[in-house]
Amino acid sequence: MSSSDMIRIENLVKRYQDLVALDHLTLSIQEGEIFGLLGPNGSGKTTAINCLLALLKYDKGSITVFGRNMQPDSYDIKKQIGVVMQNVAVFEQMSVQENIDYFCGLYIRDKAKRQSLVEEAIAFTGLTDYRKMRPKKLSGGLLRRLNIACGIVHKPRLIIMDEPTVAVDPQSRNKILEGIVELNRQGSTIIYTSHYMEEVEQICSRIAIIDHGRVLATGTTEELKQMIKTGETITIEAIQLDNTLLAAIRDLPHVFDLAYEDRILKIRLSTARHNLVRILNFLKERDISFGRVFSELPTLNDVFLEITGKELRD
């Protein structure tokens, strides 16, 4: 932890009766980061965010934001935070522009400044053509963009985005991700929670992997990948592989794990040169026919798999 941390969460414990939602969660986030909270559904991401925003009571631990304790009446801190909730939170009875203007008004009193910010937010989220429409008339992607516009319209120093791309089509998702990077470029620090590893990998400068309410690993994507044994994953379509053969493959140098299911052989190897050639030669020598072959560098999913023993989307 550094004294320049924008957010510091220490030993946070939150219990729902017997269920421990946050188990001594400790995090620090620096200004200017896009910080990813990566974890499966139910891992404690949203609970951590709600505690951070002083919405939820917690049993133990401390939270400081901008160097001060976060409390329900920390209005000076709240002024500098924008939140994009997981669920769309807009008024059905008001148009796109009215919604954005209303939520901006909760932060900004000056009318001229507010009008300019509303226009900027509408343009930023690409809602110009839809400004007069009610939320009910918008598609899922546009609705998510409206949700984002309402959260960022006051140009906050810290933006918290809780799974903003859930149930969004790929095209809209890309626009949203581009927008988040742009917001960061404009100076906002962003906390981004997701269970989509591709998104987190694509935009986050630092990532914390959470499961069962605990931070399992923190670092940049590269740092996380270096923490694990997997250097390469080779996938081969092959038939008639018996247990003896699979055991022989497992004994090859640098192989530390394999799985064979539905004619797909998946071999995980530590970082070494010529891993793929070695495996293919082994199969040729034993006259085993095979189809397509893929070699992949480790992903965040591999990191998650190795750290937690389960797939991210389990």
């Binding site: 729902y16 709600n50 925003l53 002083a54 919405l55 939820l56 009571k57 409390q71 329900p72 009446d73 209005y75 000076d76 709240k78 002024k79 935070i81 939140v83 909730m85 997981q86 669920n87 769309v88 939170a89 807009v90 008024f91 009875q93 008001m94 009215e98 203007d101 209303y102 939520f103 008004g105 909760l106 932060y107 009318k111 507010r114 309402c150 959260g151």
Partner: protein, 380 residues
């Protein structure tokens, strides 16, 4: 603040389902009241203005002065409360009496008499009529014997007495029994502001709605948000109540009183108590939306029932048995304020009603504000 007020106002008045229950439903209910018993027939309520009592008149001896006077008296009563059947034979009249087709038989003779078959309300009224006639006749006879010169004055005095007691109420206003239903209806409509209050307070509850969470994390003080919501709801609800009162008085033609200022004051306090109840229920309890709505239904219909919305005489029964309930039941206090304003012209009691309502509002708001102060949730 005006900015937030404007948008909250637009948002609430565009919420058509909420506006239906707050505005259209009481108007529909009022129309149904009017059609059911206000206009078509008050008898349907069990609070009939007057059912004419069926009687037969047997003329045994019409030669005496007293018999002719009694016949004339019955003729006068026929216009007001007696339905004299066309039966001249005593046997037919007795048969009809046994069949309960008649309440009684008057006999016109020197000493008028009455035959009834049972001891009910109508029979007692018929007896009272006869006794009243006999007393007056005795009085006139006595005056004629002792001071015959004053007989015309005595007759005139009795005439004046009748006019005063029968046509004028305590406050000099007609007491139309069906008005109490409309007073109770307006009281119910005022209390139905609770639904607007509860629904609106949900938008500030982070544990119940996403909107509540979003509004809870803004730098605008939660009390400010509640006060803005309350002001908007109050303005909307006050106009709803005014529209309802206008509809009742101008369209249905039911008078709610002549004092417009007092009527506005009652509507004002009524709207306020409804909204405050809603805000209190919405803010205080950390219950689910369903539970809050159930409580709201209970808090509108039950006080409405106790105030006489479903059974007109209920408020009077409670006043006799346990008057404290009428003092703490906002619907009864409102209904009472309407009575004081529209019927009794009782300024002291009217002021007391308004003070009770104001006190209730203060208590409810205090409870609500204490509930939401520095609020953090156990789960979201």
């Amino acid at each position: 603040m005006l900015h937030l007020f404007k948008y909250r106002f637009l948002q609430i008045i565009r919420d058509y389902s909420a506006m239906f229950w707050a505005l259209a439903f009481p108007i529909i209910l009022g129309t149904l009241f009017y059609l059911s018993f206000g206009h078509v027939g008050l008898e349907a309520t069990g609070d009939s203005a007057w059912d004419m009592i069926k009687v037969a008149v047997i003329r045994e001896d019409t030669s005496s002065e007293n018999a002719r006077a009694f016949e004339s008296y019955l003729g006068m009563m026929e216009e007001e409360m007696l339905d004299i059947q066309d039966i001249s034979k005593e046997t037919e009249a007795l048969d009809a009496l046994n069949e309960e087709e008649l309440a009684g038989i008057y006999y016109i003779k020197e000493e008028p008499s009455l035959t009834v078959a049972k001891n009910g309300l109508n029979e007692r009224i018929l007896t009272s009529l006869l006794e009243s006639y006999n007393q007056n006749a005795a009085m006139f006879r006595k005056i004629a014997m002792t001071h015959p010169e004053n007989l015309p004055n005595a007759v005139a005095a009795l005439e004046d007495y009748r006019q005063t007691t029968e046509a004028v109420s305590l406050a000099g206003k007609d007491l139309n029994p069906d008005v109490q239903y409309f007073f109770a209806l307006v009281a119910y409509a005022c209390l139905s502001g609770i639904f607007l209050g509860v629904k609106s307070s949900l938008d500030g509850q982070a544990n119940l709605t996403a909107l509540g969470a979003r509004r809870s994390i803004t730098p605008t003080h939660k009390l400010t948000l509640v006060l803005i919501d309350m002001s908007v709801l109050f303005v909307i609800h006050f106009f709803n109540i005014l529209i309802l009162c206008l509809y009742i008085t101008k369209v249905l033609g039911i008078s709610l009183g002549d004092d417009i200022g007092a009527l506005l004051l009652v509507d004002f306090m009524g709207s306020m108590i409804g909204i405050c109840m809603g805000i209190a229920v919405g803010c205080l309890t950390r219950m689910s939306l369903g539970m809050k709505m159930s409580i709201s239904v209970l808090f509108t219909l039950f006080p409405g029932f106790l105030a006489g919305l479903m059974f007109g005489n209920m408020k009077n029964i409670i006043e006799l048995r346990c008057p404290i309930i009428n003092r703490i039941n906002p619907a009864a206090v409102l209904s009472d304020a309407f009575y004081c304003m529209g019927i009794y012209n009782d300024t002291e009691r009217f002021t007391r009603c308004l003070l009770i309502l104001a006190l209730m509002c203060v208590c409810l708001l205090t409870v609500a504000f204490l509930g939401i102060r520095r609020e953090r949730y156990d789960s979201i």
